[in-house]
Symmetry: C2
Subunit: 323 residues, 2 copies
């Protein structure tokens, strides 16, 4: 085998590695839980381990690897191609590129994880065929990315596309980032968890989601939302409705500011619950459009699942950090 | 004279025409009140009249004119280069390009007025030297424009950059557009006028601004704000503080989404009051940044005044509608 590319998604909970051929077809993958208590150097070695085993699963060797792209939960400074800070991992202002290149013994390209996910959906997934695509990924937090005219928008210090921290309600709910009224405080697993806590623990309402409760509603897994929603659980429906209505307004702001051709919704909760979230989202999105008609902007569920992020990292590596 | 360009700003209250040389130096101008009760055809002839007199003031003739750019208070569809709707003039879905070309007997290029203003500030004014610039223009309404990588962002159906209709407060104040919580409902002359009405007429507070009252606070001129602010009028200070604090949050959203290098503040109120609005704006902007430090994004007052819009229209005509 030759001209393979390796993509790694370093997440707060897991590390996923994939190997693709020249046509971006996935040949193999492997994943492991992120040992986030380890030092950055040790996590880099964990990533190397996943890369080794993904290559081995593909029956390939390092000699076959042409490009290495790594996606991290951090802003990447376009000036240096290096990380700025990664709150999900507790890293702050930590350069990591050199450590990674030392561990891998190769040139690597870093990019923000949700930027990678958005770009991959634009190239191969739900946003394929459009030139201007915005992605929202509803997970523990709310991530996003912006592709304009076929290029990833990086902005000053590489922080463009931090869509979870757009304020949709001045003086609104406290967000984990310290601001008030960010959309992440309305539409993310963390936000939903707080609402479950309020409804179930404080208001004593009953909900099937308690089957999946492990001492902290804000740590509910996406599957729990999916199962409770599928069962028609009233509290779950209400909470997701409120959250995705708010996301519809945030996305209508994106429509008003950028008027992209397509908005992709993804992330664990969206992939788990599936099309069920769309009516909530679409109604408030349509009602809050300005100078656009419903349907002018395509709303699509993500298609690439967990592969989106490492695939985007590969696209970035192939383009030498210039997607 | 040769290779002159003509730029016209068709506004809801006035029509401004300018003539520039090849280096975009303004040679002459003329303006007239918009007779908005006239038919679109008659307004096109009014525009031709201003063009004639601006040229005559320059001692030039139509043979000297190489490019004609016209800025209108309307979305321009990039597919056709024609207008979609112009609420400020009461026009809806009215093609106007052909009428203008018939009246002028020449090829003309149309573009949205605040898009033109933002682009001109980017090329020659407060945003010069940056590649990614966003403009806010506080007038009767709140307009905006987005320049990314040196190009005007038009988006689907040309409606990108409608920054006044970004929702900053879900379920917030009613906006003239029919939505709730748009930033225009917090920071525009119309919004300020409603607050003056509340404070003065309903709460019986006294304010120097009543000197400029002509039966409707929402029709106060920018000069009235400037004079009342300069006099240290308490009600005026409070209202502008609230408005520009809200605008700071809206602009911090732009920073979070696009992370431009520079945000330009302009429009009648900003130009009238001047630097006095900056502290209100800057404080809430800085407090609501995400992953950026105060100073990472330059905040500048507009430099080109009324000339920004027709200058931008000229840049667009020179680039054959492709700025």
């Amino acid at each position: 085998m030759k001209n393979l590319s390796l993509g790694i998604d370093l997440g707060g909970t897991k590390i996923l590695g994939i190997v693709v051929d020249e046509k971006y077809k996935i040949i193999s993958n492997d994943k492991v839980k992120t040992k986030y208590r380890l030092s950055p150097e040790e996590i880099c070695r964990q990533m190397k381990g996943i890369a080794d085993s993904a290559l081995s699963n593909a029956g390939a060797s390092w000699n076959d690897v042409k490009n290495i792209g790594i996606a991290v939960p951090a802003s990447i400074d376009p000036a240096t191609g290096d990380g700025l800070h990664a709150p999900a991992l507790g890293w702050k202002d930590l350069p990591i590129k050199q450590t990674l290149e030392d561990v891998f013994g190769r040139k690597i390209f870093l990019e923000n994880d949700v930027n990678c996910g958005t770009y991959a959906e634009f190239k191969l997934g739900a946003g394929k065929g459009f030139k201007n695509v915005v992605g929202y990924f509803v997970g523990t937090g709310l991530g996003g990315g912006v592709v304009i005219d076929g290029k990833l928008l990086r902005g000053t210090r590489g922080v463009a596309g931090e869509l979870g921290h757009e304020v949709v309600k001045m003086d609104g709910r406290a967000c984990g980032c310290g601001k008030n009224g960010c959309i992440e405080a309305y539409c993310s697993k963390t936000a939903f968890g707080k609402q479950f806590d309020k409804q179930i623990r404080k208001k004593k309402r009953s909900s099937i989601i308690t089957k999946y409760y492990e001492g902290d509603f804000t740590r509910l897994k996406s599957k729990a939302f999916a199962k409770a929603f599928a069962a028609g659980d009233e509290v779950t429906m209400e909470i997701l409705e409120d959250g995705f209505k708010a996301l519809g307004i945030a996305a209508s702001n994106i429509a008003t500011i950028l008027a992209p051709e397509c908005i992709v919704l993804g992330g664990g909760v969206v992939e788990g619950v599936g099309e069920g979230v769309l009516p909530f989202f679409q109604k408030s999105f349509d009602e809050n459009l300005f100078a656009l008609k419903p349907g002018d902007i395509a709303i699509r569920l993500s298609k690439l699942g967990d592969d989106a992020v490492p695939l985007g990292a590969i696209f970035n590596a192939v383009a030498k950090g210039k997607i």
